[in-house]
């Protein structure tokens, strides 16, 4: 076909390439069948099949000094003018223009948005995305990620040893942590002055109807399983252990101890005091205390809490892999990592960031929820990777409780 240069914008670019490929078949289809039939055929193409693994796009990083980064809201340092200081410096140092896009609002909805393009190996408009462990696990399993060239990321040496070999990505060939956090228990110190120590304490009858748990299966179920004495990071547990924990949750929802099961909006309930004690995320409580008065306390239960990470990965269709690797390498500089951690209040995976943080704010460097020490980390567990069938089964069981009957 024509040899005109492709436009710069990645999405338009992908569309043009797609249109060129499809031109012949589309003509044939339109000539033969009606508009409805062709739309159906398209629909059939996009969702059906999906067995063949997509192949990685060719890297054009040498000539194209741009990068699209999709991330969650309030998850990078930001100044009063809405600029991202660390990203501005990255552009100055490397000449790579970064388009930082707050496109991820939920692992599931983001996945739903891009999965059809991923299955076809197309550019999803992001050269790197930060997603949570279990979702990363799914992407790697399905072949939706590109293998990282560690040669381009020398700072990988700064990766915290505890995070170097997760079960879903041994040796970190496809993903690298961006920020992490704990799921544990929290309570309103005014209404529950005695505080809580274990997940079992949430089932205290005095808290009846005022307890909340997270709709994120791995955090809620993980904490209950830890309470039951299961090591959630080991591959040894299976249906029996999960079923036992589901029974606990089911009972507490059925008897009204747990009134609600929520995602990010659980913070509203803590503020309105509908919820007095909950299973919650560490970084949120730091922010909530800063926003709405020092009223809440977070703790990792004595039986253990869950540790999760959001990880950089490079989608299969991205043609700017080297640029993405350059960015990842930059954020593994301890000074840069400390600057981000000071703003977002989550755990940085970069060794040396704590020392760098002392220069910014010595008190910050002592915060166990941002810079946990060995002792804290030894009580935090990563939920083991699930295979497709397990994920389907466990999510169905968990959703059954969320949906009631």
């Amino acid at each position: 076909m024509s040899s005109r240069p492709l436009p710069q914008d990645p999405i338009v670019r992908a569309l043009v390439a797609q249109a060129r490929q499809a031109q012949l078949t589309r003509r044939g289809l339109l000539a033969g069948a009606g508009a409805g039939a062709s739309a159906l055929a398209l629909a059939a193409c996009s969702t059906g099949g999906g067995q063949a693994r997509p192949s990685a796009a060719a890297d054009v990083s040498d000539t194209d000094k741009t990068l699209n980064w999709a991330n969650w809201a309030a998850y990078i340092d930001e100044d009063d003018d809405g600029n991202y200081p660390t990203l501005v410096r990255f552009t100055e140092e490397t000449g790579i223009e970064v388009n930082y896009d707050v496109a991820v609002d939920d692992n599931n909805t983001y996945y739903g948005k891009v999965k059809d393009q991923l299955a076809l190996g197309q550019d999803i408009g992001a050269d790197t995305v930060c997603l949570t462990d279990w979702m990363v696990s799914r992407w790697i399993r399905l072949g939706y990620t590109q293998e990282l060239d560690h040669g381009n990321i020398p700072n990988i040496a700064n990766l915290a040893p505890a995070l170097a070999n997760p079960s879903f990505d041994e040796g970190r060939a496809h993903s690298l942590p961006w920020q992490g956090g704990f799921a544990g228990i929290c309570w309103n110190t005014e209404k529950v002055p005695g505080g809580l120590e274990t997940v079992e304490d949430l089932w205290n009858s005095e808290l009846k109807g005022r307890v909340g748990v997270l709709s994120e299966m791995r955090d809620t179920m993980g904490l209950i399983m830890l309470q039951n004495g299961v090591d959630i990071s080991s591959p040894d547990w299976g249906d029996a252990e999960f079923d036992a924990a589901i029974e606990v949750l089911d009972e507490q929802v059925a008897n009204g101890q747990i009134r609600n099961i929520k995602g990010n909006s659980y913070l509203e309930d803590l503020k309105s005091e509908d919820t007095l004690a909950a299973i919650c995320w560490s970084g949120d409580i730091t922010v909530l205390n800063a926003e709405a008065g020092d009223k809440w306390q977070f703790a990792i239960p004595t039986a253990g809490g869950t540790l999760w990470n959001d990880n950089f990965l490079i989608p299969i269709g991205s043609p700017r892999k080297t640029n993405a690797e350059t960015l990842i390498n930059y954020y593994y500089e301890p000074e840069v990592a400390a600057e981000v951690a000071a703003w977002v209040n989550y755990i940085t995976p970069v060794v040396g960031a704590q020392e760098a943080a002392v220069a910014i704010d010595p008190e910050l460097a002592e915060n166990q929820l941002i810079f946990p020490n060995e002792e804290t980390l030894s009580n935090a567990f990563i939920f083991r990777a699930l295979d497709g069938a397990e994920e389907q089964k466990y999510q169905t069981q968990f959703q059954q409780i969320l949906l009631g009957s």
Binding site: A44, Q51, G112, R259, D269, Q392, T396, L402, L403, G404
Partner: protein, 303 residues
């Protein structure tokens, strides 16, 4: 409104039809629009609802098949949600009618002589639309929360048990549905009541009917088109609503409606066939219920 069209075709004598290519041509954009944005997605939805899990596929991978058992499975798994959806929608419709009728009657009949007051009241009915319906529902969540002024005062007055709460209960969900759909009930009622000929009411009293009988035998039958349109405009969207019952808004784990089940199957469980089958069941059930309702509310005793 749907009903009004239905009624007029029954009542008017059939006009002679002439085939005109121009009329057909003018209809073309509409037909194309329907084919493209209604028929195609509908067929795609039906095909999806019959898919079977791919044998070696991962989570969320399905192949085209004729797996009609999907329908049986979702009805077995989710029949409480199906019943609950229609139950809540019915309650919300009845409450909305009870609240809206006096409002519409006042605006349409009593305020007739004062056009300024009439327009002002109409604006008040429409005013909530100026704010997003999500925000209004979130605001109610705050108003009904445990430590809110309303709930704490009710408890202080011993009108409510000390450990009682509203948020996350069926009451809160039906309340939210009723509140959100009241304008959809009020406006069609207003349009019929506004045209109500009060001389009929006088005639009723002249025939020694008391005011209740006049209301029952004259006002209600004359406002039937508005009642039917209003109840349809309330019931249909309320049955499919998933915002009010959502756990993030007014609902809790035991108040989940069909919309929430479809959402969970679609986004979290990636069980697209189940989500599609449920959508079709919802559509079919509404179609049947509405059909029966329109037929029963009767064209014959209306006009």
């Amino acid at each position: 409104m749907a009903f009004a069209a239905f009624a007029t075709t029954e009542a008017q004598p059939q006009t002679t039809r002439r085939k005109s290519p121009i009329a057909l041509f003018l209809l073309l954009p509409g037909i194309l629009y329907l084919v493209l944005f209604f028929l195609t997605p509908l067929i795609s939805l039906i095909l999806t609802s019959l898919q079977a899990p791919s044998e070696f596929g991962d989570i969320g991978v399905y192949d085209y098949a004729f797996n009609w058992q999907n329908y049986v499975t979702v009805i077995q798994d989710y029949w409480p949600h199906i019943l609950r959806s229609f139950g809540y929608a019915l309650l919300a419709t009845v409450f909305a009618l009870l609240f809206s009728y006096p409002i519409a009657y006042f605006i349409g009949v009593k305020a007739r002589r004062r056009p300024l007051l009439q327009s002002l009241l109409l604006v008040l009915v429409i005013a909530p639309f100026f704010i997003s319906f999500l925000l209004r529902t979130l605001a109610w969540k705050q108003i009904l929360s445990d430590e809110s002024l309303i709930i704490t005062s009710l408890k202080a007055l011993s009108l409510l048990a000390p450990d009682a709460y509203f948020a996350g209960t069926p009451f809160a969900v039906v309340f939210g549905l009723t509140y959100n759909f009241i304008p959809f009930m009020t406006l069609p009622l207003y349009t019929t009541l506004e045209r109500l000929d009060t001389r009929y009411l006088e005639a009723g009293s002249d025939l020694y009917a008391n005011s209740f009988t006049v209301f029952r035998k004259v006002t209600i039958p004359l406002s039937m088109p508005g009642i039917v349109a209003g109840t349809l405009l309330t019931f249909i969207p309320a049955a499919g609503d998933y915002v009010n019952a959502s756990r993030d808004f007014l609902g809790g784990p035991d108040t989940q409606m069909m919309g929430n089940v479809i959402e969970a199957n679609f986004l979290v469980l990636l069980n697209y066939p189940a989500a599609a089958a449920l959508s079709i069941i919802l559509m079919a059930a509404i179609l049947v219920l509405v059909g029966v309702y329109v037929k029963r509310s009767g064209t014959e005793d209306l006009l």
